[in-house]
Symmetry: C2
Subunit: 257 residues, 2 copies
């Protein structure tokens, strides 16, 4: 029995999302079909999490269990030859334990990109949220820091996929303002031990209201304390979101053994 | 009579190029139609140069002559409301002389992007040339410097649009290697007083052969001296090319008056 870890990048624009669904092509579906084309083997790949339609990934992780002897070094090239150009297997690794992409994940990092200002870049249409105004990025960065820590994030959970517990820990939050060919971007990198449904997109929608001065940084703790989705900001569009990295630890090491 | 200068960005992927052509949508055609939709006026806009199909622009410049009183500050927004999202008027300026986008240009800067290495980024498909190998970027940068100066660039001129003189001056050449989300890029910024047909793309194709060690930096002067297109490298694909900036001087100031 072999346990494999795949690291995958994709442009999510033209997919229904990570997970196989009846209504269109998915990343998981394409990967499983590519695996079958290469090995003849039909199997299920487990993604570290479902990314929604339009959400991108630089470092999504999938796990799979196989008996097939295909050498690990040959896997990315063989799969990529059977995938659309918008899905790329960056790396395959052989794991020496029963690696599971969801169970063993200890942290995930997402990036969200807002393009702001009076003119919309023609180059970021599918990879950012265009907000056609000036935003106070200084205030947004200050507000962002107030999400760090262990909190009940019920106010940032969209309906549709409720979780048993809405308590999560945001470990790191980096906000930066950059200029790409004269178009100003505000980017947020959020690292957490787990995320509720649409949590990053709802967090960014809330930061945007701070940037527009409809909310103050001081409102963030109140919004979290309210545990009420309706008082936080809107859900930022999927196109601005990218899953950057998933961090793993062997399950027998999670508690410091 | 009003002389206007427009600065325009576009993703050239789905256009036949800057210039109006019978076989598909062009940037110039869209801009002229947008102008007509806004003002009722049918006119011809002059671009600083024709970009080919698939070539992008961050700062293409167009000139136009009009009697219409539309305030200059309202022009970008009015045109953008009548343009596809892949064409953006960034700025409109009122000129106090008979500004002409071709005649008055004194320098242009292009950027060319090569994506190299074993895995192709899913995010740069239409904005780079993918070369699926390691390239010696140190050698490429050294070779790039040897194009600087006033030379006969006949070896880098593609057939199809011969010019009276093939002598041009490359004023500046900046090569850089950057990493975008773990995908390595080699970018060249070339500034010149003018360019022959496909000159930047042929220059980059030649640099690529240096990166693959099929040519040495020392071969560059020999290639220029030969004035023979067949001994330089291949024409790099349109998708990697972006017109960044066009520099202007008033015609009565060009000779230092």
């Amino acid at each position: 029995m072999r346990y494999l870890k795949l690291t995958v990048a994709y442009d999510g624009t033209h997919f229904v999302g990570w997970q196989i669904q009846p209504n269109g092509p998915s990343i998981q579906g394409h990967l499983q079909e590519a695996w079958q084309a290469v090995t003849g083997e039909s199997l299920v790949m487990t993604g570290s999490g479902r990314t929604d339609s339009g959400v991108h990934a630089v470092g999504q992780v999938a796990s799979l269990v196989t008996h097939h002897p295909l050498p690990v070094a040959a896997i990315p090239g063989a799969l990529n030859a059977n995938l659309p150009e918008t899905i790329v297997v960056r790396e395959a690794r052989e794991m020496d334990y029963d690696f599971h992409a969801i169970r063993d994940a200890v942290a995930k990092t997402y990036r969200y990109t807002i393009q702001m200002g009076r003119r919309r870049s023609p180059f970021l249409l599918q990879r950012s949220w265009y907000v056609p105004r000036e935003l106070d990025t200084e205030l947004m960065s200050r507000a962002g820091q107030l999400f760090i820590g262990r909190h009940d994030f019920a106010s940032l959970q969209s309906a549709g996929a409720p979780r048993r517990s809405t308590i999560r820990t945001i470990l790191k939050m980096v906000c930066e303002t950059i200029d790409v060919d004269g178009f100003p971007l505000f980017q947020v990198y959020v690292t957490g031990d787990g995320f509720l449904y649409n949590m990053v997109r709802n967090l960014v929608g809330t930061l945007m209201l701070v940037g527009r001065k409809r909310l103050l940084p001081e409102d963030i703790p109140k919004i979290l304390a309210a545990k009420d989705r309706t008082i936080a900001g809107p859900t930022a569009p999927a196109a601005g979101l990218t899953l950057m990295h998933v961090e793993y630890q062997r399950p027998d090491q999670v508690n410091g053994v």
